[in-house]
């Protein structure tokens, strides 16, 4: 059996998701959007802060979803890109006095370059080997941030405190609420752009590579280019998420970006449904709220409780939120018929 045959017969790493199944219907989207816009008006600042967290972590999960669900490449190193984005924003705001809005595109560009460069080894590795390579990146990142020659900028272990922006134009809303809407606009923008990307020629190329690399290259797709491009795009979006996270939390430190974060993002993607972009928000809500629920059940055994809850989710709905949404849709369809 030749090497090529081996690759061909190997089952695809990620189940093929047709691109139509990647999004929500228009009606549902509008309902969700309305809830996201109106929701914060009725809740406490703390809840708004948590909703902001869901949005920017949702972005990071979305980025991983494009990489894994779209182009079929695994990554456990998303926390590294997230850290680079967060530090870029924090350093530019605190040392260069730059406006927080401007730091985000810069974070995106730097992370894109970083991801694109890191995508190079991805060309030689696939599946679990790629996951391991990116894992190494995630493990190294917190230590790299403490290195001597960057310490002056990153603040070493002490980290950097970031000033939280006020609402502009004298708008009568709290800092938290402003930041929420700001994050919401960026999230929606990136969400729409991502859907368009996956529906475009490049998106089809990603998915062709995911489904069968050899067939894709036979059809004239530049596999090397698109694989690294997927890494770049994913890193750029993660970088923006990191920047938003730094502004919302008002602090960056190496301890914020450990391998734990990368695993959480991976978890969020699986729970939300691999390849289903709206699931990113559900996955992000899962990684924020479920640990808190676990802690309220048992403080000493919070890890075990979390494990049980996660197991239940994976056991009952292996395709995550996507499956739940589909079941709901079917039920709704039946109701309409009756």
């Amino acid at each position: 059996m030749s090497a090529a045959e081996e690759v061909v017969t190997e089952a695809p790493a990620v189940e093929a998701v047709p691109k139509r199944a990647m999004t929500l219907g228009l009606g549902t989207s509008l309902v969700v959007l309305a809830a996201l816009v109106i929701g914060p008006l009725f809740v406490k600042n703390f809840i708004i802060f948590q909703m902001t967290q869901i949005l920017y972590l949702g972005l990071a999960v979305l980025a991983l979803n494009i990489l894994t669900g779209g182009s079929g490449q695994f990554s456990l190193g998303q926390s590294a890109f997230y850290a680079v984005g967060a530090y870029t924003s924090a350093v530019l705001m605190e040392y260069a006095g730059m406006n927080y809005v401007l730091t985000l595109p810069i974070a995106a560009v730097i992370c894109f370059a970083f991801g694109f460069i890191f995508g190079q080894p991805a060309l030689r590795l696939s599946g679990v080997y790629l996951a391991l390579a990116t894992f190494a990146l995630a493990v190294a990142m917190p230590q790299l941030l403490k290195l001597h020659f960057v310490e002056h900028w990153t603040g070493g272990v002490q980290g950097l405190v970031v000033t939280k922006p006020d609402a502009p134009f004298g708008l009568p809303m709290s800092q938290d609420m402003w930041l929420y809407y700001f994050t919401l606009v960026i999230t929606i923008g990136i969400y729409i752009a991502s859907i368009n990307l996956l529906r475009s020629r490049s998106g089809r190329a990603f998915m062709a590579i995911r489904d069968n690399e050899i067939a894709a290259s036979a059809m004239g797709i530049n596999v090397a280019l698109y694989k690294t491009l997927a890494f770049g795009v994913s890193a750029a979006i993660t970088g923006v998420a990191g920047g938003l996270g730094a502004i919302a939390v008002q602090f960056v430190a190496p301890d914020s970006f450990t391998i734990n974060l990368a695993i959480q993002l991976f978890l969020g993607m699986v729970v939300g449904g691999v390849g289903w972009l709206p699931g990113s928000i559900v996955g992000s809500a899962f990684i924020i709220f479920v640990p808190n629920i676990a802690e309220s059940i048992s403080k000493g055994l919070s890890g075990a409780v979390f494990g049980v809850l996660l197991f239940l989710v994976i056991f009952l709905v292996p395709h995550g939120a996507r499956q739940v949404a589909m079941i709901a849709q079917q039920l709704l369809g039946k109701l309409k018929k009756n």
Binding site: V161, V249, V252, A253, D255, S302
Partner: protein, 407 residues
């Protein structure tokens, strides 16, 4: 005329009444989180993750407040201790502290642990004017009432400890040639600064400095280099693994210098035993709390109270674990401070009382060590006593030394 005298008398009576009722009102003042029956205290500590060993502190404090409540509470008010897990992650710490302040509506945030987590929440708590009381970290920056009037430290800072070693050496060994090995991070640098400030004009006593990174597998080459400097004192500002390596390597290369090891690395189990007891004889350090496992304190009234507390409220605690002693001492400090607040449980008064501790000693502090704070001094414990490793344990010796960091 009589009429006007009447009016005057009546007026005086009314005034007196208003005045007394006014003070009565002033006596009972509350901010969010305090009522006639309850005081809500917020707390975060890593119960999970890599630093979860510190979770013991939270459990001890919870048990301590249960004891306080069973004994009638503080001035008739029960303590509601709400403790969350931050997993030693700064973003999680921010989320949990915001939950405590905005959702649980606690009066104060007490004894949050870790320099990164405390840095992450400091700005938020100060802008909300919520007391960040008795933080569980050794960094010196918590003593900054001018910029952060709502944040106060507790344990001796690394700089205080550094100063104490300098003071000790200048007195006992004025012609010493000192070599310093330090960890290249905030902990090591804070310490080194204290040491140099302590030596002051005699900083030339330090003949060699070497720093190492936590990522280095071994620090043997640094020890060899320091030996070559001809120093006869080594100050080892190291974390446990490296402290043990240092003690061992010094014995191996037969470097007979007097060694002082940082207080964080004085664990018998984690440092002295792996380094070999025979290699660690005569090593010096300093401490501020009693060791419940040490026979010399068995008849000490404070330790007796501590052990009685553990028997009743936290029977499965390890009596030798220094975290248990720590949690007990911190919780006792908060209790004392809340007692001092009386019925004025406003956040402003809490900071005022926290800054008015006078010669207060918990059951767990070494005899002679007292907490003192003032409007310009937000560092409660600033004294330590020297100790020497002998046999398989540490012996305290000499007087209590103050390492006060001036401003």
């Amino acid at each position: 005329m009589p009429a006007s005298r009447w009016t005057a008398a009546f007026g005086a009576a009314v005034a007196a009444f208003v005045f007394t009722s006014g003070t009565a009102l002033a006596q009972k003042k509350y901010d969010t989180g305090a009522t006639d029956t309850e005081i809500k205290v917020g707390h975060i500590v890593p119960y999970s993750g890599p630093a979860s060993a510190y979770g013991i502190i939270g459990k001890t404090e919870e048990a301590f407040f249960k004891m306080i409540n069973d004994n009638g509470g503080i001035n008739g008010r029960k303590i509601k201790f709400i403790s969350y897990d931050d997993a030693y992650s700064p973003p999680k710490a921010v989320e949990q502290v915001r939950k405590l302040v905005e959702s649980d509506e606690v009066l104060v945030v007490f004894n949050p642990l870790g320099t990164p987590s405390n840095t992450a929440i400091q700005k938020y708590l100060n802008s909300k004017k919520v007391p960040q009381l008795f933080v569980a970290t050794g960094a010196t920056k918590w003593n900054d009432p001018q910029h952060f009037p709502w944040t106060i430290g507790w344990q001796p800072s690394y700089q205080s400890e550094g100063r104490i070693y300098a003071k000790y050496l200048m007195k006992e060994k004025p012609d010493a040639k000192v070599a310093v090995l330090y960890q290249n991070d905030d902990f090591g640098k804070d310490y080194l600064k204290g040491l140099k400030d302590g030596f002051g004009a005699k900083a030339s006593m330090i003949v060699a400095e070497e720093s190492y990174e936590i990522s280095e597998p071994t620090i043997d080459n640094h020890i060899v280099k320091l030996k070559a400097s001809g120093a006869d004192v080594l100050i080892s500002i190291t974390t446990p693994k490296f402290a043990a390596q240092t003690i061992k390597k010094m014995a191996e290369i037969d470097w007979k210098a007097l060694q002082i090891v940082a207080n964080v690395s004085t664990s018998v189990g984690a440092v002295m035993r792996p380094a070999g007891f025979e290699n660690g004889q005569g090593v010096l350090s300093a401490h501020y709390a009693k060791d419940a496992g040490d026979a010399q304190w068995h008849d000490d009234p404070g330790i007796k109270k501590f052990l009685a507390f553990l028997d009743k409220y936290y029977p499965d605690a390890d009596r030798h674990n220094s975290q248990v002693i720590y949690g007990y001492g911190a919780a006792q400090t908060l209790t004392k401070m809340l007692e001092m607040c009386g019925d004025d449980l406003t956040r402003a008064n809490i900071m005022k009382q926290a800054a008015s501790l006078k010669d207060f000693a918990t059951d767990t502090l070494l005899p002679g060590i007292k907490m003192n704070t003032s409007a310009t001094d937000f560092a409660p414990i600033e004294q330590l006593q020297m100790m020497r490793f002998k046999g398989e344990k540490w012996d305290m010796f000499g007087d209590v030394i103050s390492g006060e960091v001036g401003h």
